[in-house]
């Protein structure tokens, strides 16, 4: 199939994002942007006793970046905050399921939520 990247579930998530919204009293939050293509993801995380209980995002951008944000926020629930800083790109990329190795520019889109998360937990904006 030609549109290997544009799987139905990605389009679906783009049109109907999961975990969308702001958390007013978030414990960790940060925004990551890719000015080259106009993608942005702002992540909000709430944790209790070091475990993530809620994760949401606000963003605009391409289907890959936004679908990725939906999947990523879901993935974070139940994870230990302490383990987040060590999370590798591969782990985040697996969520999007499609092979982006031939599209390094699209990989950047898929990793935008991870960038936001790293900023959020390191405390740097």
């Amino acid at each position: 199939m030609e549109n290997d990247i544009y799987q139905e579930f990605i389009i679906e998530l783009y049109k109907n994002p999961r975990n969308s919204g702001r958390i007013e009293d978030a414990d960790y939050s940060a925004k990551a942007q890719n000015p080259t293509c106009g993608d942005s993801v702002e992540l909000f995380i709430k944790a209790k006793d070091g475990i993530i209980t809620e994760a949401r995002f606000l963003g605009s951008g391409c289907a890959i970046s936004q679908a990725s944000a939906s999947l990523f926020t879901g993935y974070l629930i139940g994870k230990k905050v302490a383990s987040l800083a060590k999370m590798k790109a591969d782990e985040a990329l697996k969520l999007i399921k499609v092979d982006l190795s031939k599209n390094p520019s699209r990989m950047k889109c898929a990793l935008l939520p991870l960038d936001a998360m790293r900023k959020a937990v390191s405390g740097s904006y």
């Binding site: 389009i11 783009y14 080259t36 293509c37 106009g38 993608d39 951008g61 391409c62 289907a63 889109c109």
Partner: protein
């Protein structure tokens, strides 16, 4: 009869096997506003320079040194004729348009702009004709005024007149790289003159396919890049009226731009060399000469007319796509060789990616015009641009790919 199909054969990349489009598809190149494709004569001119005449310029006394210098200076004369400047001394070779703008900002701006002065630019500008002036204003404590646009995307001339009164300089584009808007360069330069403001024209999107006459335009300074008009990367041009350039300080210091150097002081070269420091990209300039020759042989008027017909056709086809909104003037007569647009429900980045799969090359993003996109209220747009080698079939391909993108996201 303009024969684009025949002209295409002059461009090796279109004949590349396998195709130069993504995944070896035939190349449907609709991004000439970013950079043009190059005809074989230009590529050959560079190769022949390196194989037969390669030498540094303005220095040696031996055969190939004289040849290289001669050929380099012949291109300067060509450019002077191409834009109808009054003298070769008014033609400065730069690396690109951006460097030219910065040369003016440093060489003219820094010595002539003072605290409280007003400098004017427009919301249409490419970052290269916006950021230098913004920074100049910041550095000097001057006020940056930005001329707005109307609903159609044309410059608000009343706003321009108002803001230019009492201003020290006015920097604007001859054609917008996003909206395509063609500005009334002569009229605007005349307003600047009446107001005693220096006029600087960004000709990047206009010079490649419109006959340029700087004497008629009445501008003080104008710049453009060779790589958008079939020439190699590395050769841009800054044109300036002689008295302005004489007054300007050098931008870069070093060899070539000096007439004498002692331990204590240096004296500058005469024009144009005062602004051409160090070793230039000689081959790129030679290539620029070949590009001008190629364009002159076809005739810029013919190219402009052909582009106009393609853009007209593109506007019509894009108009028929539901959910697609064309940005900028709807009439081909009011615009240059590009159309930017948005499609409801699909991010420009995804549009470009899906089109790329069909070999259709467009540009998505803010096109180095973030202030403009903010004014339009959109984060990004998709842009298709044409040049003398594009065809109606390619516009059909663009349209079909866009319909496909819509299907993917439906």
């Amino acid at each position: 009869m303009f024969d684009a199909a025949k002209l295409r054969k002059d461009f090796p990349i279109f004949a590349r096997k396998p195709g130069a489009g993504t995944d070896s598809k035939p190349l449907v190149y609709l991004d000439s506003a970013a950079t043009s494709q190059r005809p074989k004569v230009v590529i050959d001119a560079m190769t022949s320079f390196y194989t037969e005449h390669n030498s540094n310029v303005h220095r040696g006394l031996y055969g190939i040194a004289e040849e290289a210098t001669f050929r380099y200076e012949e291109v300067r004369k060509q450019v002077k004729r191409f834009i109808n400047a009054s003298d070769e001394r008014e033609i400065i070779f730069t690396k690109n348009a951006t460097e030219a703008a910065n040369m003016v900002m440093r060489g003219w701006g820094e010595k002539n702009i003072r605290k409280g002065d007003r400098i004017v630019t427009t919301i249409l500008e490419h970052h290269s004709n916006f950021v230098p002036w913004q920074q100049l204003a910041r550095m000097k404590g001057a006020k940056l005024e930005i001329v707005g646009i109307d609903e159609e995307g044309m410059l608000d001339m009343a706003d321009l007149e108002r803001k230019t009164k009492g201003a020290k300089m006015l920097a604007f584009s001859a054609a917008s790289n996003v909206l395509g808007t063609i500005t009334d360069v002569e009229g605007i330069c005349s307003i600047a003159r009446d107001c005693g403001a220096l006029s600087i024209v960004d000709g990047a999107q206009r010079v490649p396919s419109s006959k340029t006459d700087v004497s008629k335009m009445g501008c003080d300074l104008m710049f453009f890049s060779g790589h958008k008009m079939l020439a190699p990367f590395g050769a841009g041009v800054l044109y300036g009226r002689e008295e302005i350039l004489e007054d300007m300080d050098p931008f870069e210091y070093g060899s070539e731009m000096i007439s004498s150097v002692t331990a204590e002081r240096s004296e500058w070269s005469e024009l144009p060399y005062k602004f051409e420091s160090g070793t230039p990209d000689v081959a790129a300039v030679i290539g620029l000469g070949a590009a001008i020759g190629y364009l002159d042989r076809i005739g810029l008027d013919a190219i402009r007319a052909y582009e106009g017909s393609l853009i007209s056709y593109m506007l019509d086809r894009l108009d028929k796509i539901e959910g697609l909104e064309i940005l900028g003037p709807r009439s081909a007569k009011k615009r240059g060789a590009l159309v930017s647009f948005t499609v409801a429900g699909i991010h420009p980045h995804d549009i470009a990616a899906i089109l790329a799969e069909d070999g259709v090359c467009v540009r998505s993003g803010h096109h180095c015009a973030m202030p403009l996109h903010e004014r339009l209220g959109i984060p990004a747009s998709t842009r298709a641009s044409v040049y003398l080698y594009n065809t109606k079939d390619e516009i059909d391909a663009l349209s079909e790919s866009l319909l496909k993108a819509k299907k993917v996201f439906s």
